[in-house]
Symmetry: C2
Subunit: 345 residues, 2 copies
């Protein structure tokens, strides 16, 4: 049995989802020889705490959702937060779970840097660092002989990045293409039913799919970050967000959506990236008119679907959730398992 | 770099697909630290040959498709075939690629037993041994400290069994449900377009989807074997083929197919199996009338699709090829990578 000392940076929805999934999968993790121990939780609002002997996930959840004060958790010692906490708490893995910021990647980027520099493996759900600074972080991880994983950045915990390692290695993946933003797909699906863009967006906001400032979704930033991540992780590229041609749905009109339907087609916001002769190329997010038998056209509502084009298998598609507390929480558990396996090998 | 000495038992379509994929993925395998070496090929028709220093895949393919005599391959030494060959050739892994026989699993079952007893890892595309004798073979592998893998038995090389290990461990897989037989799905799809059963079957035979004796497909035996394999490998069961309730499409009539379409539904042959309170349960292959928004209803033609029902992620679906030379050949490459990784860990 190997004990994995874990620090959680951020204890919002995703952090709590992780705590829940670590509890729910404890038996399965034990059968794999993995004993996770939460030795620190750093949160700017709830407080930052450490405990070398481990913090109970149920108590952390109770404190977060009750008084909102993590220092109330039995055994918890108040400690510095942010980069200082990441540096100082003795741990094996850092789960970086702060919100994505696609302008400069902060504060996540500095957390990831600090973790890697101090010899901790990292699993992150934060798209910023991986979409903006992959070559630097990849090299920093290699130089410190640790792993940087980010299953949760694309389609939450749906197995994608780790699947490529486990099942598509050797298959010759040539390209990746997918419906990567559930909010945009939900809005387009509602417009197909006749709803105006503004009404569909309002509805998506009411349902919690879209944020108050929806620009990250509807202008294609979120999907573009995912395209950069897929190009880097699946195809071995060195892309940054700026290398991705970016379109959105914010200027689409109802007629265009409905004309597509009348012509037996579907308008979809598609993210795609290919392996070129010498480099990863054609990274883009574009509004495409798809024939109905395209697997991407069949995705309605807030679902996500990704298709890998391969030499050996032709097209292989994976469909699954794009968001959610348990769904994203599972991504960190999956990364921990992958880190455990790869470190032993 | 680790050299993996491989014996191929059977050098028909799948064996040749393996040889091609080992060539095509040589660079990627090397980057993973894997150097495969074909030290034996045993085939009842083409001859059985061994070569401790390795046989060239291109020369094997040329000999098989030219004179049909493997002893012509440079460096090849004639040797005993079948069980004797499996025992005697010094190897690390045996690829068991003989045709599936769901009555008694032979000759594949004895090949797999001999390989495991002699301390070789096994990857097989043969459904017989795994569907009929899993508990015995699983225990035999464990007793000899080797791995038994069979990615190619379900949906050819589409990542499924290895994905469960890599990405769904910890997610709480409760059930598996899928379109597992491309021939039946092709016939049902054609009947939806108005073609009679016999005509659709004849067409499937002409296209090479169905065999001269189609009973293995249309009576549900093939899908039932896959359900047993999924129950065993994904859900940890101890099923045999006889534990799977089996239905087929051989008694379906055109009216039933077309009535379903008119009612906005689709008739599909669905394989499914669940984790029960104390055991794996409800293993069955049945003709089901599915609503059109069921992901399984969307599979037309000879495609395959499998849905995992999980606690953490809800439904995750994987769609990909169900057959084919390169497609199945890749399964053995994927298993070799999985064996390599797991052996190191």
């Amino acid at each position: 049995m190997r004990t994995w000392r874990v620090v959680l940076v951020g204890f919002g929805t995703v952090g709590r989802g992780v705590a829940e999934r670590l509890r729910a999968s404890a038996g399965e993790l034990e059968s794999l020889g993995i004993a996770p121990r939460i030795v620190g939780v750093l949160d700017p609002r709830l407080g930052s705490v450490a405990a070398p002997s481990g913090l109970d996930p149920a108590s952390l959840l109770q404190a977060a959702e009750g008084e909102g004060d993590l220092t109330q958790v039995p055994g918890a010692l108040a400690c510095e937060g942010g980069v200082a906490g990441v540096r100082e708490i003795q741990a094996d893995v850092v789960f970086e779970l702060t919100p994505t910021n696609l302008r400069d990647g902060q504060p996540g980027l500095d957390h990831v840097r600090a973790a890697l520099e101090n010899g901790r493996h990292v699993s992150t759900t934060n798209k910023g660092p991986v979409a903006l600074a992959w070559p630097e972080l990849r090299d920093l991880a290699a130089a410190n002989n640790v792993q940087l994983r980010c299953e949760g950045t694309v389609m939450s915990g749906t197995p994608l990045l780790n699947v490529c390692e486990a099942g598509l290695a050797g298959a010759g993946v040539r390209a990746v293409r997918g419906i990567l933003n559930g909010t945009c797909n939900y809005i387009l699906s509602r417009m197909e039913e006749g709803m105006a863009y503004d009404d569909a967006l309002n509805e998506a906001q009411r349902l919690g799919y879209a944020e108050t400032d929806p620009s990250g979704d509807v202008e294609g930033w979120d999907a573009a970050a995912k395209v950069a991540i897929l190009g880097n992780l699946v195809l071995g590229g060195s892309l940054s967000l700026a290398d991705v041609e970016r379109g959105g749905i914010d200027s689409v009109d109802l007629d265009a959506v409905q004309n597509a339907v009348e012509g037996g087609k579907r308008l979809r916001l598609v993210g795609s990236v290919e392996r070129g002769e010498s480099a990863v190329t054609n990274a883009r997010v574009t509004l495409e008119e798809l024939p109905q038998d395209d697997p991407l056209a069949a995705v309605s509502g807030a679902g996500n679907l990704l298709t890998f084009e391969t030499d050996a298998l032709g097209a292989v598609s994976v469909a699954g959730p794009g968001a959610g507390r348990a769904e994203t929480g599972h991504a960190l558990v999956a990364d921990l398992i992958a880190i455990h396996r790869a470190e032993l090998s």
